[in-house]
Protein backbone atom coordinates (compact mmCIF):
# COMPACT_ATOMS: atom_id res chain seq x y z
CA UNK A 1 0.00 0.00 0.00
CA UNK A 2 1.13 3.52 -0.68
CA UNK A 3 1.37 5.80 2.31
CA UNK A 4 0.45 9.43 1.89
CA UNK A 5 2.43 12.08 3.73
CA UNK A 6 0.97 14.91 5.77
CA UNK A 7 0.57 17.12 2.70
CA UNK A 8 -1.41 14.42 0.91
CA UNK A 9 1.37 13.49 -1.49
CA UNK A 10 3.13 10.19 -2.07
CA UNK A 11 6.73 9.80 -0.96
CA UNK A 12 9.36 8.12 -3.14
CA UNK A 13 9.89 5.38 -0.56
CA UNK A 14 6.18 4.49 -0.66
CA UNK A 15 6.03 4.50 -4.47
CA UNK A 16 9.17 2.34 -4.83
CA UNK A 17 8.93 -0.82 -2.69
CA UNK A 18 11.77 -3.38 -2.95
CA UNK A 19 9.78 -5.61 -5.34
CA UNK A 20 9.75 -2.80 -7.94
CA UNK A 21 13.56 -2.87 -8.26
CA UNK A 22 15.79 -5.15 -10.37
CA UNK A 23 19.57 -4.95 -10.74
CA UNK A 24 21.45 -6.06 -13.86
CA UNK A 25 18.63 -6.76 -16.30
CA UNK A 26 19.62 -7.93 -19.79
CA UNK A 27 17.89 -6.20 -22.70
CA UNK A 28 18.83 -5.47 -26.30
CA UNK A 29 16.92 -2.27 -27.02
CA UNK A 30 15.27 0.71 -25.33
CA UNK A 31 11.89 -0.84 -26.09
CA UNK A 32 12.86 -3.98 -24.17
CA UNK A 33 14.12 -1.80 -21.32
CA UNK A 34 10.68 -0.10 -21.22
CA UNK A 35 8.95 -3.50 -21.21
CA UNK A 36 11.19 -4.80 -18.41
CA UNK A 37 10.72 -1.83 -16.09
CA UNK A 38 7.00 -1.53 -16.93
CA UNK A 39 6.38 -5.23 -16.28
CA UNK A 40 7.40 -4.78 -12.64
CA UNK A 41 4.52 -2.31 -12.22
CA UNK A 42 2.07 -4.52 -14.13
CA UNK A 43 3.05 -7.52 -11.97
CA UNK A 44 2.50 -5.57 -8.77
CA UNK A 45 -0.93 -4.43 -9.98
CA UNK A 46 -0.07 -0.73 -10.09
CA UNK A 47 -0.62 -0.12 -13.81
CA UNK A 48 -2.41 -1.76 -16.72
CA UNK A 49 -0.47 -3.35 -19.57
CA UNK A 50 -1.59 -0.58 -21.97
CA UNK A 51 0.33 1.94 -19.87
CA UNK A 52 3.60 0.20 -20.79
CA UNK A 53 2.74 0.37 -24.48
CA UNK A 54 1.87 4.05 -24.15
CA UNK A 55 5.16 4.86 -22.38
CA UNK A 56 7.03 3.47 -25.37
CA UNK A 57 4.66 5.09 -27.87
CA UNK A 58 5.41 8.48 -26.31
CA UNK A 59 9.13 8.05 -26.95
CA UNK A 60 8.39 7.13 -30.57
CA UNK A 61 6.16 10.16 -31.04
CA UNK A 62 7.79 12.88 -28.96
CA UNK A 63 11.43 11.84 -28.93
CA UNK A 64 14.07 10.58 -26.52
CA UNK A 65 13.79 13.53 -24.11
CA UNK A 66 12.96 11.01 -21.37
CA UNK A 67 16.72 10.42 -21.17
CA UNK A 68 16.85 13.15 -18.55
CA UNK A 69 20.51 12.85 -17.58
CA UNK A 70 23.57 10.97 -18.85
CA UNK A 71 22.64 7.27 -18.74
CA UNK A 72 19.25 7.78 -17.07
CA UNK A 73 15.83 7.29 -18.71
CA UNK A 74 12.52 8.20 -17.05
CA UNK A 75 9.58 6.47 -18.75
CA UNK A 76 6.00 7.50 -18.09
CA UNK A 77 2.63 8.10 -19.72
CA UNK A 78 -0.51 9.89 -18.52
CA UNK A 79 -2.77 8.99 -15.58
CA UNK A 80 -5.59 8.07 -17.96
CA UNK A 81 -3.36 5.59 -19.79
CA UNK A 82 -3.93 3.01 -17.06
CA UNK A 83 -2.46 4.04 -13.69
CA UNK A 84 -4.17 2.14 -10.86
CA UNK A 85 -1.96 3.47 -8.04
CA UNK A 86 0.89 6.01 -7.98
CA UNK A 87 4.03 3.95 -8.48
CA UNK A 88 7.65 3.82 -9.55
CA UNK A 89 10.00 1.06 -10.72
CA UNK A 90 13.76 1.01 -11.26
CA UNK A 91 16.09 -1.30 -13.17
CA UNK A 92 19.75 -1.20 -14.05
CA UNK A 93 21.00 -2.78 -17.28
CA UNK A 94 23.92 -5.16 -17.82
CA UNK A 95 24.53 -3.66 -21.27
CA UNK A 96 23.50 -0.01 -21.82
CA UNK A 97 21.07 0.72 -24.67
CA UNK A 98 20.72 3.66 -27.07
CA UNK A 99 17.56 5.79 -27.08
CA UNK A 100 18.76 8.09 -29.87
CA UNK A 101 19.40 10.98 -27.48
CA UNK A 102 22.01 13.41 -28.87
CA UNK A 103 23.99 13.62 -25.61
CA UNK A 104 22.75 11.43 -22.78
CA UNK A 105 23.03 7.99 -24.43
CA UNK A 106 23.79 5.20 -23.68
CA UNK A 107 21.35 4.41 -20.87
CA UNK A 108 21.86 1.91 -18.06
CA UNK A 109 19.50 3.26 -15.37
CA UNK A 110 15.83 2.96 -16.34
CA UNK A 111 12.90 4.25 -14.30
CA UNK A 112 9.16 4.10 -14.94
CA UNK A 113 6.53 5.94 -12.98
CA UNK A 114 2.79 6.30 -12.92
CA UNK A 115 1.04 9.39 -11.56
CA UNK A 116 -2.67 9.73 -10.85
CA UNK A 117 -2.81 13.50 -11.25
CA UNK A 118 -0.46 16.45 -11.58
CA UNK A 119 0.17 16.92 -7.87
CA UNK A 120 0.16 13.82 -5.68
CA UNK A 121 3.50 12.46 -6.94
CA UNK A 122 5.36 15.76 -6.42
CA UNK A 123 7.02 14.83 -3.09
CA UNK A 124 8.34 11.67 -4.78
CA UNK A 125 9.45 13.63 -7.85
CA UNK A 126 11.41 16.09 -5.71
CA UNK A 127 13.29 13.26 -4.01
CA UNK A 128 13.75 11.47 -7.35
CA UNK A 129 15.32 14.58 -8.91
CA UNK A 130 17.59 14.99 -5.88
CA UNK A 131 18.73 11.37 -6.05
CA UNK A 132 19.35 11.48 -9.80
CA UNK A 133 21.27 14.74 -9.42
CA UNK A 134 23.55 13.26 -6.76
CA UNK A 135 26.60 11.67 -8.41
CA UNK A 136 27.35 9.64 -5.31
CA UNK A 137 23.92 8.02 -5.43
CA UNK A 138 24.28 7.35 -9.15
CA UNK A 139 27.70 5.73 -8.64
CA UNK A 140 26.32 3.48 -5.90
CA UNK A 141 23.30 2.60 -8.05
CA UNK A 142 25.58 1.60 -10.95
CA UNK A 143 27.70 -0.56 -8.62
CA UNK A 144 24.78 -2.34 -6.94
CA UNK A 145 24.93 -6.06 -7.73
CA UNK A 146 21.68 -7.26 -6.16
CA UNK A 147 18.09 -6.02 -6.17
CA UNK A 148 18.28 -5.29 -2.45
CA UNK A 149 21.56 -3.37 -2.79
CA UNK A 150 20.10 -1.34 -5.67
CA UNK A 151 16.96 -0.48 -3.70
CA UNK A 152 19.05 0.55 -0.73
CA UNK A 153 21.49 2.59 -2.86
CA UNK A 154 18.76 4.45 -4.71
CA UNK A 155 16.79 5.40 -1.62
CA UNK A 156 19.89 5.85 0.61
CA UNK A 157 18.38 3.48 3.16
CA UNK A 158 21.50 2.17 4.84
CA UNK A 159 23.72 5.19 5.24
CA UNK A 160 23.79 8.92 4.79
CA UNK A 161 24.59 9.40 1.10
CA UNK A 162 24.92 13.10 1.59
CA UNK A 163 27.59 12.80 4.27
CA UNK A 164 30.93 14.27 3.29
CA UNK A 165 33.84 11.94 2.55
CA UNK A 166 36.32 14.17 4.29
Amino acid sequence: MNEKNAAGGFELEAMLPAENVRANVSVNSWQQAGDAVGQLLVDSGKIEQRYVDQMKQNVEEIGPYIVVAPGVALFHARPEDGVLEPCLALITLVEPVEFGHPENDPVDIVIAFGAQNKESHIPALIKLAEQLGNQKVIDRVRNAKTDAALHEAFLCLSEDCFASDS
Binding site: N58, E61, I62, G63, P64, Y65, I66, V68, A69, P70, V72, L74, H76, A77, R78, P79, H101, P102, E103, N104, F113, A115, K118, H121, I122, L125, I126, L128, A129, L132, G133
Partner: protein, 92 residues
Amino acid sequence: MIIATLCGMGFGTSMMLKLFIDDILKDEGIKAQVVSWDLGSHKGQDADIIVAPMDMERHLRSSESKIVLIHNLVDKAEIKQKVMEAIQSLSA
Protein backbone atom coordinates in the same frame (compact mmCIF):
# COMPACT_ATOMS: atom_id res chain seq x y z
CA MET B 1 6.98 37.24 -15.71
CA ILE B 2 5.77 33.78 -16.72
CA ILE B 3 8.24 30.92 -17.06
CA ALA B 4 6.87 27.73 -18.62
CA THR B 5 8.51 24.33 -18.49
CA LEU B 6 7.70 21.94 -21.29
CA CYS B 7 7.73 18.19 -21.81
CA GLY B 8 5.70 15.60 -23.63
CA MET B 9 3.03 15.09 -21.01
CA GLY B 10 3.43 17.69 -18.29
CA PHE B 11 3.74 15.22 -15.40
CA GLY B 12 7.38 14.23 -15.16
CA THR B 13 10.17 16.12 -16.83
CA SER B 14 8.44 19.51 -17.00
CA MET B 15 7.23 19.11 -13.42
CA MET B 16 10.78 18.29 -12.29
CA LEU B 17 12.06 21.38 -14.12
CA LYS B 18 9.33 23.51 -12.54
CA LEU B 19 10.28 22.33 -9.05
CA PHE B 20 13.96 23.16 -9.66
CA ILE B 21 13.10 26.59 -11.06
CA ASP B 22 10.70 27.40 -8.18
CA ASP B 23 13.63 26.67 -5.85
CA ILE B 24 16.10 28.75 -7.85
CA LEU B 25 13.76 31.76 -8.01
CA LYS B 26 13.17 31.54 -4.28
CA ASP B 27 16.94 31.44 -3.63
CA GLU B 28 17.46 34.46 -5.88
CA GLY B 29 14.48 36.39 -4.54
CA ILE B 30 12.88 36.65 -7.99
CA LYS B 31 9.12 36.70 -8.37
CA ALA B 32 7.79 34.87 -11.40
CA GLN B 33 5.04 32.41 -12.13
CA VAL B 34 6.29 28.96 -13.15
CA VAL B 35 3.88 26.71 -15.01
CA SER B 36 4.39 23.25 -16.51
CA TRP B 37 3.07 22.59 -19.99
CA ASP B 38 2.78 19.55 -22.19
CA LEU B 39 3.31 19.57 -25.93
CA GLY B 40 -0.40 19.17 -26.64
CA SER B 41 -1.55 22.17 -24.64
CA HIS B 42 1.25 24.71 -24.99
CA LYS B 43 0.18 26.09 -28.35
CA GLY B 44 -1.63 29.38 -28.06
CA GLN B 45 -0.37 29.96 -24.52
CA ASP B 46 2.01 32.76 -23.65
CA ALA B 47 5.16 32.71 -21.58
CA ASP B 48 8.15 35.01 -21.40
CA ILE B 49 10.54 32.11 -21.13
CA ILE B 50 10.09 28.45 -22.08
CA VAL B 51 12.44 25.92 -20.48
CA ALA B 52 12.58 22.52 -22.22
CA PRO B 53 14.75 19.42 -22.67
CA MET B 54 17.36 20.06 -25.39
CA ASP B 55 15.93 17.52 -27.82
CA MET B 56 12.57 19.33 -27.84
CA GLU B 57 14.09 22.25 -29.73
CA ARG B 58 12.38 21.14 -32.95
CA HIS B 59 8.96 21.53 -31.29
CA LEU B 60 9.69 25.15 -30.35
CA ARG B 61 10.98 26.71 -33.56
CA SER B 62 7.83 28.77 -34.11
CA SER B 63 7.68 30.07 -30.55
CA GLU B 64 8.27 33.76 -29.86
CA SER B 65 9.18 33.17 -26.23
CA LYS B 66 12.78 33.12 -25.09
CA ILE B 67 13.80 29.45 -25.28
CA VAL B 68 16.09 27.81 -22.73
CA LEU B 69 17.27 24.29 -23.59
CA ILE B 70 18.52 22.01 -20.81
CA HIS B 71 20.90 19.10 -21.43
CA ASN B 72 20.94 17.45 -18.01
CA LEU B 73 17.50 17.85 -16.45
CA VAL B 74 18.62 16.94 -12.94
CA ASP B 75 21.63 19.30 -12.93
CA LYS B 76 20.47 22.25 -10.85
CA ALA B 77 23.63 24.22 -11.66
CA GLU B 78 22.99 24.03 -15.42
CA ILE B 79 19.32 24.93 -14.98
CA LYS B 80 20.17 27.84 -12.69
CA GLN B 81 22.82 29.30 -14.95
CA LYS B 82 20.68 29.17 -18.09
CA VAL B 83 17.43 30.33 -16.52
CA MET B 84 19.15 33.24 -14.74
CA GLU B 85 20.81 34.30 -18.01
CA ALA B 86 17.42 34.28 -19.72
CA ILE B 87 15.79 36.30 -16.93
CA GLN B 88 18.63 38.84 -17.00
CA SER B 89 18.49 39.20 -20.78
CA LEU B 90 14.75 39.95 -20.56
CA SER B 91 15.13 42.54 -17.84
CA ALA B 92 18.14 44.21 -19.48
